[in-house]
Symmetry: none
Subunit: 222 residues, 2 copies
Amino acid sequence: MTRVLIVEDNADLAYGLRNNLEIEGYEVEVAADGARGLDRARAARPDLMILDLMLPELDGFRVLRALRAEELAMPVLILTARGEEADKVRGLKLGADDYVTKPFGLLELLARVEALLRRNVRRAVDAFGDVEIDRATRAVTRAGTAVELAPKEYDLLIALFDRDGAVVSRLDLMRRVWGYSDAVVTRTIDTHVAELRRKLEVDAAKPRHILTVRKVGYRLKR
Amino acid sequence: MTRVLIVEDNADLAYGLRNNLEIEGYEVEVAADGARGLDRARAARPDLMILDLMLPELDGFRVLRALRAEELAMPVLILTARGEEADKVRGLKLGADDYVTKPFGLLELLARVEALLRRNVRRAVDAFGDVEIDRATRAVTRAGTAVELAPKEYDLLIALFDRDGAVVSRLDLMRRVWGYSDAVVTRTIDTHVAELRRKLEVDAAKPRHILTVRKVGYRLKR
DNA sequence: AGCGAAATGTCAGGATTCGGTCAGGAGCGT
DNA sequence: ACGCTCCTGACCGAATCCTGACATTTCGCT
């Protein structure tokens, strides 16, 4: 499910957007000011953010800057007021991916949202080593032969894969895969990692892709 | 220039549709009631009609019947209210070519408009395995012999088919087939899938096309 | 190098969740 | 009233998941 975060203080506009995006099949969350938007971006890691630049208190520019400083890399579509050419340019310089000028046509906005997501979505088939992942069907193959992954295993694999080789902390894994907000002390994560290694590594005892980072978490080396 | 006639009494909705269709490059005309719609269909001979079924006075069904009686053969896309299964089926029987359930997503509507206009040129028959789907008549055959599908079953099949082999989540199915916006906890989807398998699979216990993706939904493998 | 604590790996059974199946009943059109 | 369709809740088996005990590894410290 593709998740979209709308950061917009105008409740009516936000409501309209939410409705239409939901009808298109997105999972939508709305934040009414910049601070909350930033919080939700950190916590929920949406796939796309729609950001009004004109916000009370913490304005859109600062939200953008903070986002990029924290390396939250989701595409951002900014909403600018008509004629504010300078805002638009400044927004794009700060790392926005596209802009829409208010008042905008719904269709235009939806088209841009789709375009951004499509551009951002990795190729339909991801791969590392001799493992291939087909996200459309949730099918995984190793050296060409199908590997049956249980749901949690697949989710875990994706969570690791999407971080592009960077370490994913246990807490992050708990959040992304298990939906918990706090760390868990059991061996749950390790067990699933072990299972993944068994199924995807040539030698599970000497993993070459699914690596342990002691005291932190795991990472997936391509 | 492709011309579209919208027959819709809700002025706001008609306005929104007109705008978006015009942006897409169609020439659009709006009629606010059935009688006027019929007049314009006769006089302007549009390439496609978008017809709300719920109209004051002369309702959509009568417009449809009159159209077909006069052998005005342009494709007709009907707008039905959520849950009005019967209306939809009745409309299709009266010669409508496709339907969209309100509230609908613009992108979905545009996609269907395009599909209808395209189909007008060459009528497509979809197929997977030994199953064939004729969208114009909602008829399905397996190994050449007709299979009777209930409306929900057909809609479900189409929802799966249109995703081109990708997984369709339960939530998506709920939205696309049932028009709900939130997940439902009952066995509704599963029973209908079971029925589809019974009717379309060689061995329903070992489905080769309609596949379960645990924790997510179903997918249709061609 | 040797030690110990902490972190991670391993494993197996028991608990849980999920999907398949079914029958009953409501709703609706004929 | 009848038949068709659809929804629902209960039941069941199987897949999946979690857990806690134990083994092993890692790493800082002496």
